[in-house]
Symmetry: C2
Subunit: 464 residues, 2 copies
């Protein structure tokens, strides 16, 4: 493990160079997020005027230079204007800092001249044994250490998904999305211009990181394709990687080229490379997070037999359509499936999709979910619920949470609840407990299918 | 216009036969919804014991029989147990009621015997010149008349989409969904067993109904395919019809057959019939409502030139990918597009997708949206926004609402806002104003594309 990369996620102390006492400034926002998100290491604001900075009543003395800080500093978050950054990097080197997230912009993204400055920064950093994240980023989050060194949203929900974004603006928007949609994160990393630390470096960290179970990357392009592929393939053998990379269409690729300077027309190369490396390419943001919910929370299935439990014939059929289209196999052994007959009225159907009927109450779901989780021939379970007056969706959520926990969470289980406000609350409750829940049956099935795809890819790799 | 069908949506007076004073009973829930949703006609509860029914402090005397009601009754909602229904229908006939939504279940859905009883009910009704909706339904909503004669959710958001559901359970769940997702409805009709009034009858009403701009049907099967197709095609020339019909896959169709008794394997026939009739078939609930938002709110485009405005290169590329895949044409005339240059910094791009850059503030969006709406060569506009600190998404929403209203809403405009809680609020604000807004760029583009598909189908029909 690269000690510098480790310091990016588990710094024992942090300096914020360019910290500000003024709300609205990035140098204030970073301080505020560090404090409010509960970082427990030492925080040293560095401000050229040496102002006092107050965050929620907690007062911080600031230092005029990083060299004045009377302690070791693992990570220095840099937010000063671009022209001051070279000197700051030099000072950080002298101080013995390990890693430098450079939030400041005004470098490579502006053109050739900026790119040269960037290269010099990296040279300086490497001379002192430091690594640079960025520049042109919004920072880094690592929830197990209560570290939020960004100027993005504060209240990131802890979980097992690591999110890497090349775009700053979209990355912050996606952080907000995860909070709204209850997607639990282990980490968020803004990699911006990737002058030094790149996707591959981070993948290597997340591969070993016990708090991360899946990785989602928003990518505009990679510089060293060979390195990325090699690492991605190695990591995919351990943990699933989901990538959103826009620019699939000819015109989209052209627009991407003018936006990021990456090569147009190379999209088919990415597609092939992703496929070979076991990377799951999502076509939209929504799809990526749908998959990520399942991939970052659930164990791999031990076989192909999927069971669908439903109280609505219609949503059961929708899920069945999706399962067939995705190549999932619905379990067919009626001797085994007959166990569900006792949880339904006579006009129910224990054929898969198992229709508990609109009369299904808490007891019916409890029994059916328990039986499905207990039977070793049933390898994955999709619980569907169409909101009725018989059973409050929030009570259904409680039942599923309890049964899944008591079963030891040994096989994948996804949930879809169709309905109104109570259904949304039930979905949130499940997601907060790390049980992937969706407002539509197809989204649950397609997410389960992504888990199967990754699992099957691994199996073919092992056979080869 | 069939007077009986009209009475289903604009009854001057309503009897609830089987009304109850006990919360938790369907006969109470229907009364409660009628009162709470603000129905302004007369409401006559009918209860065999003649109990007094109190709803929110308002007291209703109830009648022991519909024949005792001292006034004309246009619509009688029937919630008594199945065995009493034949007598009640007979009484309604004598009373001169026009239309009978029969909520009660226990008829055709149970088998042949129930089907016979159902046929007799219809015979009786027709003898008296009445029409039957159902049985086995959850009721009917018509928002322009503040009519909510269902036992589903109360606070349906008024709008221009008519929703028809063959499934009761899913229909209620979808009503809840529309409230949660701010989809405005003109009507909700549960058609259940379709013993008498069917999809075609309702389509004919909605075709003429000035409060309805689009129709969404959840369908499990049709009895008279020829009649449905003929009507659907006529209606599609005036208003778009979106249909969700599960059972596309072989196994899904089999499951549907066991659930609804409809023929398996006939799905390809539906596909062909829908296509020929101009019906837009949505593959999922989410897709159907996405399209419905746009189709029920926006005018048709007067040409093919779509303009995408964005503050994020990434989401601009995603939208471009979706537009290409959907066959939408991004406007290319740089002489016209140059008008956007004045709303962006020098590193922005006025090539379509128009990148206002992450620095885009309210003024930039205001100017760009106004210019796009004003230029007659630009026929449709997609406004994308990636949440940044520069502009609160709710302020963006206000700007778009104002500009779109001031332009007279003459061309289609869709919005996508990617972000967290404030983004969700902004999306809700726009949807409440009838401006289709989505949390992902692709969903906005695909919905615009559905509008184009319908519009192009109409054009080909007119040419033939």
């Amino acid at each position: 493990m690269d000690e510098n990369i480790k310091a990016l996620f588990r710094p024992r102390s942090i300096a914020v160079i360019g910290a500000s006492e003024k709300p609205g400034k990035i140098g204030y926002a970073v301080m505020k997020n560090l404090v409010e998100y509960g970082y427990e290491g030492k925080i040293y604001p560095v401000n050229i005027k040496g102002v006092e900075i107050e965050i929620n009543g907690r007062k911080f003395k600031s230092y005029k230079s990083i060299l004045d800080v009377p302690d070791e500093v693992d990570m220095a978050v840099i937010v000063v204007p671009a022209k001051f950054v070279p000197q700051v990097v030099e000072d950080c080197g002298k101080k013995g800092v390990k890693v430098l997230p450079i939030i400041s912009s005004g470098f490579g993204e502006l053109g050739e001249e900026g790119k040269k400055v960037e290269e010099q920064l990296v040279e300086t950093a490497h001379r002192y044994g430091m690594r640079i994240l960025g520049p042109n980023i919004f920072g880094v989050v690592y929830t197990p250490e209560k570290l939020n060194a960004t100027f993005g949203p504060t209240d990131v929900m802890p979980g097992s998904l690591a999110l890497i974004s090349q775009s700053g603006a979209l990355g912050i928007a996606l952080m907000g999305w995860t909070i709204l949609e209850k997607v639990g994160l282990s980490a968020v990393v803004s990699i911006g211009n990737k002058s030094d630390i790149d996707d591959a470096d981070l993948l290597e960290f997340f591969k070993e990181d016990e708090n991360t179970k899946a990785i989602l990357i928003y990518m505009e392009g990679v510089k060293d394709g060979r390195k990325f592929m090699k690492t991605a393939k190695e990591v995919s053998m351990e943990k699933p990687i989901i990538i959103i990379k826009a620019g699939r269409s000819e015109r989209g690729a052209k627009a991407a080229a003018s936006h990021t300077g990456s090569l147009a027309g190379a999209d088919s190369i990415y597609t092939a490379a992703f496929k070979q490396s076991g990377v799951l390419r999502a076509l939209t943001i929504g799809e990526a997070f749908d998959w990520a919910r399942t991939l970052s929370n659930l164990p791999e299935p031990e076989g192909e037999n999927v069971v669908i439990l439903t109280n609505g014939g219609g949503i059961g059929v929708m899920a069945t359509d999706a399962a067939e289209e995705e190549g999932l196999k619905l379990y067919d052994n009626l001797d085994d499936l007959k166990v569900f007959a006792k949880h339904m009225p006579p006009f129910g159907s224990y054929k898969n999709p198992v229709d508990l009927t609109g009369m299904a109450d808490g007891k019916a779901y409890e029994g059916a979910v328990r039986d499905a989780l207990a039977n070793p021939n049933m390898h994955a379970v999709a619980v569907l619920y169409c909101q009725t007056a018989v059973l409050d969706p929030r009570d259904l959520a409680k039942i599923v949470i309890r049964e899944y926990n008591e079963s030891g969470r040994k096989k994948p289980l996804v949930v879809a609840i169709v309905g109104g406000i109570e259904a949304k609350e039930a979905i949130d409750m499940l997601n907060e407990e790390g049980i992937p829940a969706y407002p539509e049956p197809e989204r649950a099935i397609k997410s389960l299918s992504a888990l199967y795809r990754w699992s099957r890819w691994k199996a073919t790799q092992k056979r080869e």
